[in-house]
Amino acid sequence: MRKQRGLSIISMLVFAFLIIPMIIIVVTSFGENPSIQFPIQGFTFDWYLNVFETNSLIQSFFLSIQISMIATILALLVGIPAAYALARYSVKGRDILKSFFLSPAMIPGVVIGYALFQFIVIQFQMPIFQGLLLGHFLISLPYIIRVVGSSLEQLDFSIEEVAWTLGCTRVRAFVKIVLPNIQAGIFASFMLAFINSFNNIPVSQFLSGPGVTALPTSLMNYIEYNYDPTVSALSVLLMVGTVILMYIIEKTLGLASIS
């Protein structure tokens, strides 16, 4: 009994530790004072309006959406077949291959960003946009392969074999039988990879140029010159967006499917 009380106190503290900064951000976004303050004086929605009036932020927001969307879709196109091959065929170097595909998740983003910047942008003169896309593709791929891979591992492959005996070619059986049964995993991996890519700073930091700046980078630049609650307001908007996405995932598949 005593022990349990001790545990619940600890978990309360942890919870508070996690939630307090968020509460502070939400609260500060409504403050009237032009520098971030806590507690706040007055109450205003001005900073929210300011978010939509600050061109650099809006531009970056749409760029980030675009980059994350395209990168995640590309990662799906590569990741689903790769996850399938890894789950289905007991190829010799399977474990090595698996680690290779998952390696971007283990290498610090800074390193990926720097490497891409150094070799792709400087050496091969690739435009920033494509470089950024490539970076985000790389950090998305491991999520896709892991989440789709785990739903493939739960799938009884004999349903695919039955489809072959009924007259399906391999490609057709994959499309008509495998894909519908890993839909949930594909959706979850898409959401996860997208959110992760959208929030990513280290990779984006290195890959920015005139007119091509991801939102987190823009935000950091903005803070450097203006320490006003616009940043808080934007953060709140992003949090709300993420919560809505998470709610959709939870509703459609349950959070358990992503952990």
Binding site: I159, E161, V162, W164, T165, L166, G167, C168, I177, P180
Partner: protein, 346 residues
């Protein structure tokens, strides 16, 4: 006339160990043949070679005089029922069953009656709109069967289809499978490790061991005259001991007891075997005759319908079942009589 022919099929998964070792099997049209054997002996592998899910390393697979060895699985038109049923979870019963027909681009007007017919035959008429997870084990089994049958396959392949059902349903389903198979006259290969199931359903049984077929015969023939020690052990023979041939149908044990058999066997077969049920127990002192071996009870076990004795004799320990009216106690001496027609040499 042979319809399905497996000729010297060799399969190796790793390139070193042969899982099937030059396996030969000929099946006639309309027959239901079982592959019977212990787990790991290669039954599933054989069935997968037939289905086209595995390409054999060597050998030929012929159906109806056409060599199908290199024909891919989706072009063979064989129906297959998996142990796990392998129903498509995202499709209803009707859609599961109609899946093969749809691929054949059948017209709705010919397709729907076919689906309806097979659902009737398999007793699923009421369940067409349910999803697999809303069905019981027996019903899933029927859907898997219906789905395999509706494409009018040249061959029906069943891999331990009843092993996930409870005992009562298993008996019911095997009668059902037999009935449908007869009705449609479809050539079938049925994999099982259950002797009773296999004997009750099959026209012929191939007993497999370690990648080869040890014996391929009717159930009666296998039950009464197993050809190898492995087959004999697998179908319930006990009591193996050596014999020396003396003359036509006459043998002696290592201790000089004379044993006669009712059938003649080739010279090389010198191990005798008999089922515990087939040995008669006589009291000590009965007039000595041929096919008698004296012994002493070591252990008595009550089996319900009879007693089982472990009897020490000079050919080794012999298991005997005796009527429950007369119980011999351990230590008691008695005579074992081996009826000529029940003594098998392998």
């Amino acid at each position: 006339m042979t319809y399905v022919d497996l000729k010297d099929i060799r399969v190796s998964y790793d390139g070193k160990n042969n899982i099937l070792k030059d396996l030969n099997l000929s099946i006639e049209k309309g027959e239901l043949v079982s592959l019977l054997g212990p787990s790991g002996c290669g039954k599933t592998t054989t069935l997968r070679v037939i289905a086209g899910l595995i390409e054999p390393n060597d050998g030929d697979f012929v159906v109806d005089n056409k060599n199908l060895t290199r024909v891919p699985v989706h072009k063979r038109n064989f129906g297959m029922v998996f142990q796990s049923y392998a129903l498509f979870p995202h499709l209803t019963v009707k859609e599961n069953v109609g899946f093969g027909l749809k691929l054949r681009k059948e017209d709705k007007t010919t397709m729907n009656p076919k689906i309806q017919d097979i659902l009737e035959v398999t007793g699923l008429a009421e369940l067409g709109d349910r999803y697999p997870k809303q069905l019981s084990g027996g019903q899933r089994q029927r859907v898997a069967l219906a789905r395999a049958l509706v494409i009018e396959p040249k061959l029906l392949l069943l891999d331990e289809p009843l092993s996930n059902l409870d005992a009562k349903l298993r008996v019911q389903m095997r009668i059902e499978i037999k009935r449908i198979q007869r009705k449609l006259g479809i050539t079938s290969v049925f994999v099982t490790h259950d002797q009773e199931e296999c004997f009750s359903i099959s026209d012929r049984v191939a007993v497999m061991n370690n990648g080869i077929i040890e014996q391929f015969d009717t159930p009666e023939e296998i039950y009464n005259r197993p050809k190898t020690e492995f087959v004999a052990r697998f179908i319930g023979f006990e009591n193996f001991f050596n014999l020396t041939k003396q003359g036509e149908k006459t043998y002696t044990t290592s201790e000089g007891h004379m044993l006669k058999t009712s059938q003649s066997w080739d010279d090389t077969k010198l191990v005798a075997t008999i089922r515990p049920d087939d040995i008669n127990i006589l009291p000590k002192g009965t007039e000595q005759d041929t096919n008698m071996i004296p012994g002493k009870v070591v252990v008595r076990t009550f089996l319900g319908k009879s007693y089982q004795y472990e009897v020490e004799t000079n050919v080794g320990k012999i298991l005997v079942n005796g009527p429950k009216e007369t119980a011999y106690s351990s230590g008691e001496e008695l005579l074992l009589q081996f009826p000529e027609e029940k003594l098998i040499l392998v």
